[in-house]
């Protein structure tokens, strides 16, 4: 267990949180997008986060203890919940009954995700700062 490991763990955490922020902002930006390349309204994107034992090649030690894990994005999935329908016959994207399907984005939900991801990002950044301080102290032994 050394400094490089810690750096990679925290770095992975930063990446995960940044992805969450990106997805939340994408969802917010497309909250009213009724037309997409795949057809239909925009579907909000969700990250699937999983904990991965680190490093992956530490196979032996895994069975003996419980090594620290890093986080990573396993996949980004589109939320299949149907969006809300609004009756608006004059809208260019209205279906034959005159309903327009709007994205299944709840802005409040996305903002909460944004705030949570932001806090976690800061926490990971603090962990890295702490590591840097420790490394400095360690080097100071030899002045």
């Amino acid at each position: 267990m050394d400094f490089l490991t810690a750096l990679r763990i925290s770095g992975a955490g930063l990446g995960v949180e940044r992805t969450r922020v990106n997805l939340a902002t994408s969802n917010l930006a497309n909250a009213e997008t009724t037309r997409t390349a795949e057809g239909g309204a925009y579907k909000r994107l969700d990250p699937v986060i999983q904990a991965v034992p680190f490093p992956a090649e530490l196979g032996e030690a895994q069975s003996l203890g419980s090594p620290p894990m890093k986080a990573e994005i396993a996949a980004i999935v589109a939320d299949q919940t149907p969006g809300r329908k609004v009756y608006s016959p004059g809208h260019p994207d209205a279906d034959p009954e005159g309903f327009v399907v709007f994205p299944n984005v709840n802005p409040v939900h996305e903002v909460v995700n944004l705030m949570s991801a932001s806090r976690s990002y800061e926490a990971n950044a603090t962990a890295i700062e702490t590591l840097k301080t420790m490394a400095q102290r360690g080097l100071d032994i030899a002045r």
């Binding site: 267990m1 904990a51 030690a61 203890g65 419980s66 894990m69 986080a71 702490t130 301080t133």
Partner: protein, 144 residues
């Protein structure tokens, strides 16, 4: 002839174990948003005791060829016995703030733990540096 005393060894072990603890805590922070994740913890005094045993007994008997050897081989980047001993003692603990997605990491407590760990690491490093500085001073006839 022993130049470096047991106190210095104890300080070295403390530094190693503190680094392992940092890794554990950093892993918890990185997984603060992973659904269903149970935080890991390291009992520091337990780890220090294990590290000391490793040192005193000059390694444990492996019950399997695939287990970590006394010098930590097979542990990848673990560079010392104390590190290896501490790594074996990492456990999953029930978290204190279960949330809807099953994640149990208490971020605030973890951050506080990181801060304290860093402080203790610095203290041990400072003590080790000071002891060596005194030795260095004496060895160089009061020159530096």
């Amino acid at each position: 002839m022993k130049i470096f005393d047991t106190t210095l060894t104890r300080l070295e072990e403390a530094l190693d174990v503190r680094l392992v603890e940092h890794n554990v805590l950093a892993g918890n922070v990185a997984n603060a948003d992973t659904p269903g994740y149970r935080p890991k913890a390291l009992d520091f005094s337990q780890a220090m005791a294990a590290a000391e045993q490793m040192f005193a007994g000059d390694g444990m008997a492996s019950t399997s060829a695939r287990h970590l050897g006394p010098a930590g081989e097979g542990a990848g980047e673990a560079s010392s016995r104390a590190s290896a001993a501490a790594t074996l003692l990492i456990r999953e603990t029930p978290g204190t703030s279960p949330s809807i997605d099953g994640n149990e990491v208490d971020l605030d407590r973890t951050m506080a733990g990181l801060a304290e760990n860093s402080l203790q690491y610095g203290a041990s490093a400072r003590a080790a540096g000071k002891k060596l500085a005194i030795l260095r001073y004496v060895v160089s006839d009061g020159g530096s």
